[in-house]
Subunit: 395 residues, 2 copies
């Protein structure tokens, strides 16, 4: 199968020009484009360019708002409730996470929830915004009052380290359209409700958990269906709520099951985690929740998603966070694996491998069908097409 290589900059620019063409403000379009490019760069194609037409349609139809900015409705030193004003998910998400980080710098933690939001791309993007504070912290070093991080001798290295004060940890959660059947049930009443947690290690290393609380993403079931393959037991159930290895049954009237699969193998825990995400999102924020959320790809009514963004400043806790974090990951990665060909990983490692591969190739490889589909979309709205590099990648 051949794939077209497209530079990150071109994907970024393409998404921006498409979104602006249908009336999105340039800085909102930029926010969306960044999240989608990041999704693809990390290898999560289901949350990247592939979904751009959904955002284009939402703006064109007016289901998603073009104008305005998110508004803080309730505010305290460590918490905020934000009205996302039905703007694009990444606009709401960036606003809330920036606010959470600001609060974490001042109060140790920031816990910000939003209602009136929309699909926001990969949850990890927001959690990782906290990691990126490394750079901001260099400029805004006066935000940190404690000098205790600079206590190892004043060498060039430690001086540099001192300017790399531990950035906050980040967390992000969103509710989503119902696709998951609770344990013992047979209707989809929960979304894939992702959990993302990012925590910084040493030397730019990090732990980045970004996972749906369903056993798998719907896209994986669809892929097996297209290939005519069966799915592993524990991914989904049929219309009677019975686990099924037939992807067609899962896709037609059945649903995904929570992590853990059946009740006997702990599926009720995944169900509980999906509910936990709903508590942090729809319930805390006063947004839509559970099966009140519009179903996937229905775009005739406002989504009003609830989302939750948390930043934690390790400086308010025990000294040496980054060193311990790196050691924790080293313990796992350094372990002898069950199969020598498959090393033990830490959350975020598969994505790092994918990003490295893209960077070495000089772009992100897209299936030709995706490029053609996007260019049809671009033509319709009068935008110049995606320009692949002159390289074709074989896989």
């Amino acid at each position: 199968m051949s794939r077209c290589l497209i530079t990150k900059a071109e994907v970024q620019s393409f998404v921006e020009r498409c979104m602006v063409a249908v009336g999105t403000k340039p800085h909102h379009a930029r926010s969306l484009a960044e999240v989608l490019v990041e999704g693809d760069h990390r290898g999560h194609y289901s949350h990247g360019l592939n979904r751009m037409d959904m955002y284009v349609k939402d703006i064109e139809s007016g289901i998603c708002a073009k104008d305005g900015e998110p508004v803080v409705e309730k505010d305290s030193a460590a918490t905020a409730l934000v009205d996302g004003k039905n703007l694009l998910g990444p606009v709401v998400g960036n606003f809330c996470m920036d606010l959470a980080i600001k609060k974490a710098k001042e109060a140790g933690i920031g816990w910000v929830v939003a209602r009136g939001s929309n699909h926001y791309g990969i949850a990890g993007h927001y959690a990782m915004l906290a990691l990126k504070e490394n750079m901001i912290v260099r400029v805004l070093i006066f935000y940190y009052s404690s000098p205790e991080m600079c206590n190892d001798g004043g060498s060039a290295v430690s001086h540099h380290m001192c300017h790399n004060l531990p950035p906050p940890q980040g967390m992000s959660f969103t509710n989503t359209s119902p696709l998951v059947v609770p344990t013992r049930g047979k209707q989809c009443t929960l979304g894939t409700n992702p959990i993302s947690v990012a925590a910084p290690g040493k030397d730019g290393d990090s732990f980045v958990l970004d996972m749906a609380t369903s056993a798998v993403a719907l896209g994986k079931v669809e892929l097996h269906d297209r290939r005519g393959d069966s799915i592993p037991e524990g991914w989904g159930c049929d219309t009677h709520g019975k686990l099924s290895t037939d992807p067609k049954k899962v896709l037609n009237g059945g649903g995904l099951v929570p992590i853990g699969g059946s009740e006997a193998t702990g599926g009720y825990k995944g169900y509980g985690l999906g509910m936990m995400v709903e508590v942090f999102c729809g319930i805390l924020a006063g947004a839509q929740y559970s099966n009140n959320i519009r179903t996937w790809k229905v775009t005739d009514r406002v989504a009003n998603l609830g989302q939750c963004f948390v930043a934690i400043n390790p400086d308010n806790f025990a000294h040496g966070f980054n060193e311990r974090m790196s050691d924790l990951m080293s313990i796992q990665r350094g372990m002898e694996p069950a199969d020598p060909d498959f090393p033990v990983l830490a959350a975020g490692d598969p994505e790092r491998t994918n990003m490295k591969k893209c960077d070495e190739m000089g772009g992100i490889p897209y299936h030709i069908n995706v490029v053609n589909y996007m260019n049809d979309c671009a033509k319709r709205i009068g935008v110049s097409p995606l320009l692949p590099c002159d390289k074709v990648v074989s896989e």
Copy 2:
């Protein structure tokens, strides 16, 4: 199998007198007894009276401290780092959760982590302390500055509701002795690292998630082993890291696997969640972590566990939390179940059923072997035995 019924008050008193006999301060003994009784009352016998001898031995040997109180090491409006001073886990846990609740009342959220702690019983106990604030809030109503909760007409019911202001949500996490093998690995480097989240609904109803991040508890594997039964695939692995249905292989050199089971069915998500708990506990608190934690039942060195306690005040977010929370649970419970004999539950429902059963019987039913074992322990330390009711329960 016959069981002895023992009143909650007698179990509480028995644990207190045993702990005090070996030198525990009376109010510390009371804290421990409360958590153990609650564990049994909720049906989690693996975290109740059954474990008392471990605490007795820890105090007798001096591995766990008798004297002192937990100390706040770092403090901000919304966060704190606590040194548990190697006191009993429930002493540290109650101290931290009380502090988190106090902070949540003032700053919207309290995020408190402890190092120097010990086994603290069921994680749910601490998360639920936030729920119990219902009662405290009635007395300390001046803590709430916002009158917006009392806006529905002044009837007797709404007046009562107004005094039942939404209590904080609670969360609790602890790291534990290594028993879980990371995905692709073959050594136990993580504990069963539980997550607990409690959130209040209407009329005393609540969502109480209290789950290990392993597929099952070790006790369940032991139980199958004693019965000579095989275990479901996805509970544990053998010494080569391969999933096994033979409980002996899991118990002898193998280990539990994270929720989700194999890599194909999403076990890496459970592994990521176990790591997340470690980030919140050992890493943030500067306590022991991962396979540096002493192994289970090794009591010749200090545990120095890390724990994390969070309280969130729904009053700082969207109005109507309790109503939405109850509706969210009703959607799930009201769904037609796959099997009419097994209704869809919300987290906390199985425990509520167990508590109701105990309350109707007038006590907690214990296996005669447990009672005998505890009474041998009591005799050794010169304490009067557990007194069963005059009822014997058949099961």
